[in-house]
């Protein structure tokens, strides 16, 4: 048995550090297979619609696409020179098991979820920008959980070779009729010297879906990352805590998170380790609860002098029920660094409400305008087309205040 499998086996019973424990036995492991799709136009209507809801429009120009239905990759192709889009099984064969990448950032024995993914046939995407290659149009991917009560396991590898530029938008979603399911997604990012990556993940789940992404990110000298996570519809429980290591001088990471919880439990956060001089990182979270429970963790670790890190979490609770628990952590391990955080949890400012009402808006309209503005974080490092799509997503959702 391989070393990976052996370590995974031992971790099968290991509960995760954060998030409610999910009983994996409750979910089905047998996924019905789907046919491969030759042309994007042939993507089934319900998948297309669900994808659109998470900002993945397949109509417009795409630099490449990956679509996975349940456990089957149905589309995996690139239309951009120097950009590779493969399903992960094919990539493992082509690149001799992806030895330098496979389970190198996310420990296979981190918890029962990583172990579960490791012990089953892999599905997921392999994205690679060759040295100096640039995506003009973003790569779009959609992970679609269409089979009720399925345990969907995903393992993605993203590699930006030296000096490349990669823009990815990934939507993870269930169609409206699928309420129940489990999604475990392992993603490992390698951003090499001077490469620039923007990665935008939009989640839209059913009310009874458990979600456990597991993400590791490694950045070399001068690499930049804009990592955006948006979740505006409720899941039963969602827990994610990506870890990024800025290992080369001058690497810059920026994390933006936008959460809106009507119900359910969202436990999100990130740990960013600044390991080389002149690295900088910021993490900005905007959270709105209208009854749901949101925990936002943020941790910055400064290991060397001359690094900069900033954490920010602002939360609005708009209903009587609802909870936002903001847990910022700064771990400075030497002198000469600069780390800060800012957190505020509260209600909508009366002054702002009154201001808009003085212009004739009803209280509900004013609340909607303020919440929408609040969630419209200015995200650095995104191409204009992506920014527009993102804005549309936050507009799409009915963001009504009040209880």
């Amino acid at each position: 048995m391989s070393d990976i499998a052996e370590r995974a086996k031992k971790a099968l019973g290991k509960k995760a550090t954060y998030g409610p424990d999910v009983d994996l036995e409750k979910y089905d492991v047998e996924a019905k297979p789907h046919e491969e799709i030759q042309r994007l136009e042939e993507v089934p209507e319900d998948v297309r619609k669900a994808a659109l809801n998470v900002g993945v429009s397949l109509e417009k120009e795409v630099g490449g696409a990956y679509i996975q239905m349940d456990q089957t990759p149905v589309v995996a192709r690139s239309s951009t020179e120097g950009i590779e889009v493969l399903d992960i099984a094919t990539a493992l064969k082509k690149y001799d098991g992806l030895k330098d990448y496979w389970w190198k950032l996310v420990p296979v024995d981190q918890d029962k979820y990583t172990a579960d993914v490791a012990l089953h046939p892999p599905a997921g995407y392999f994205l690679r920008a060759k040295s100096g290659a640039k995506t003009i149009f973003p790569l779009k991917s959609c992970l679609y959980l269409g089979q009720t009560n399925l345990n969907q396991r995903v393992h993605n590898i993203i590699i930006a070779e030296e000096g490349s530029e990669l823009h990815v938008i990934t939507g993870c979603t269930t169609p409206s009729h699928v309420q129940k399911g489990l999604h475990i997604g392992v993603s490992e990012f390698f951003i090499k010297k001077g490469a620039h990556v923007s990665f935008t993940m939009i989640h839209s789940w059913g009310r009874e879906v458990d979600v456990r992404p597991r993400t590791g990110i490694y950045m070399e000298e001068g690499a930049t990352l804009s990592n955006n996570y948006i979740c505006l519809t409720p899941a039963k429980t969602l827990q994610t805590y990506p870890k990024a290591i800025l290992d080369g001088p001058g690497a810059v990471a920026s994390f933006n998170t936008v959460l809106y919880a009507k119900e359910g439990h969202l436990d999100t956060g990130s740990e960013i380790v600044l390991r080389a001089p002149r690295c900088s990182a910021d993490s900005i979270t905007r959270a709105v609860s209208v009854g749901g429970e949101i925990i936002t963790r943020g941790k910055m670790v400064g290991e060397v002098p001359d690094v900069k890190a900033h954490l920010e979490c602002v939360g609005l609770i708009l209903s009587e029920k609802g909870r936002i628990d903001s847990i910022p952590e700064l771990d400075g391990r030497c002198g000469g660094l600069d780390m800060s955080h800012e957190a505020a949890v509260g209600k909508i400012s009366e002054l702002e409400l009154e201001y808009l009402m003085a212009r004739g808006l009803t209280k509900d309209q004013a609340t909607g305008v303020i919440v929408r503005g609040f969630l419209d974080v200015e995200i650095k490092g995104l191409p204009e087309s992506l920014r527009d799509e993102l804005r549309k997503i936050t507009q799409l959702q009915e963001l009504h205040g009040g209880s």
Binding site: S349, E350, L351, E352, E354, Y355, L356, M357, A358, R359, G360, L361, T362, K363, Q365, A366, V369, I370, R372, G373, F374, L375, D376, V377
Partner: protein, 247 residues
């Protein structure tokens, strides 16, 4: 001819945070009239305007406010706005993520944001978030642009000239005249205004029909704007009251 003034205030008492700030205000503004309101810091000028606008923090303890003959004393502020009351705040809040041009659209869906912003020489602020990082004078121009879109029948301006430079004060003056229809024939005017100012400078550019002096929560003197301003300048507020309105 209407029997009511556009705005009528009867023996208004208002408290904030449990403290009585307005102590018996009586005021009538007819259609087509523009009034100025003078008074020392803290006498209650902003309180009066915000109470008319319906800001909930300002609690009416007694008295009433009539607008177009209707008792609006306990009406929510958005309804008052839709009835035709508009206000430029002394220090409005910033609103994250809301562009000025979008707010102007919200003030009046038919308005053309570019047009009103151009009138205030403020076009380059169209895509800026409302009041975020605006300077004192810029905030005033932003407020005026919003009112130009909203086109209220009663325009209330809380120190529209404070912090505004000499060139922009002309622009603001022109906008005020437009809002109060001083650019049309007196018989055609239906809109009115009330404007708080500490410096008479703005009065060089706008036409004002009447002025009031407020002290410690009451209106102590009413008369010609020029005359009152002159007295305040030479004798101070107390002196002005003693001279023009001796008791």
């Amino acid at each position: 001819m209407e029997v009511f003034g556009l705005l009528e205030i009867e023996d208004l008492h208002v408290s904030i945070g449990g403290r009585m700030v307005l102590k018996g205000i009586n005021l009538k503004i007819d259609r087509g009239e523009n009034h100025a309101l003078f008074g020392p810091n803290g006498c209650g000028k902003t309180t009066l305007l915000n109470t008319i606008a319906g800001v909930p923090r300002y609690v009416v303890e007694s008295g009433r406010i009539l607008f177009k003959g209707k008792d609006i004393t306990h009406l929510p502020m958005d309804e008052r706005a839709r009835m035709g009351i508009g206000i430029a705040f002394q220090s409005p809040p910033a609103i994250r993520g809301l562009k000025l041009k979008d707010l102007i659209k919200l003030c009046n869906p038919e308005a053309k944001p570019e047009k009103v912003l151009m009138e205030m020489n403020f076009l380059e602020f169209a895509d800026r978030e409302v009041n975020r990082g605006f300077s004192g004078g810029e905030i005033k121009r932003s407020e005026m642009a919003q009112l130009l879109a909203q086109r209220p029948e009663l325009v209330m301006l809380d120190e529209p000239d404070s912090g505004v430079d000499l060139e922009n004060i002309k622009l603001i003056g022109r906008a005020i005249n437009k809002l109060t229809e001083k650019d049309t024939k007196p018989s055609k005017r239906t809109r009115s205004g009330i404007i708080i100012t500490h410096f008479g400078h703005i009065l060089d550019y706008i036409s004002v029909d009447k002025a009031h002096v407020m002290m410690e929560g009451t209106i102590v003197c009413t008369g010609s704007p020029r005359e009152i301003l002159e007295q305040i300048k030479t004798r101070g507020y107390e002196g002005c009251v003693r001279c023009l309105c001796p008791t």
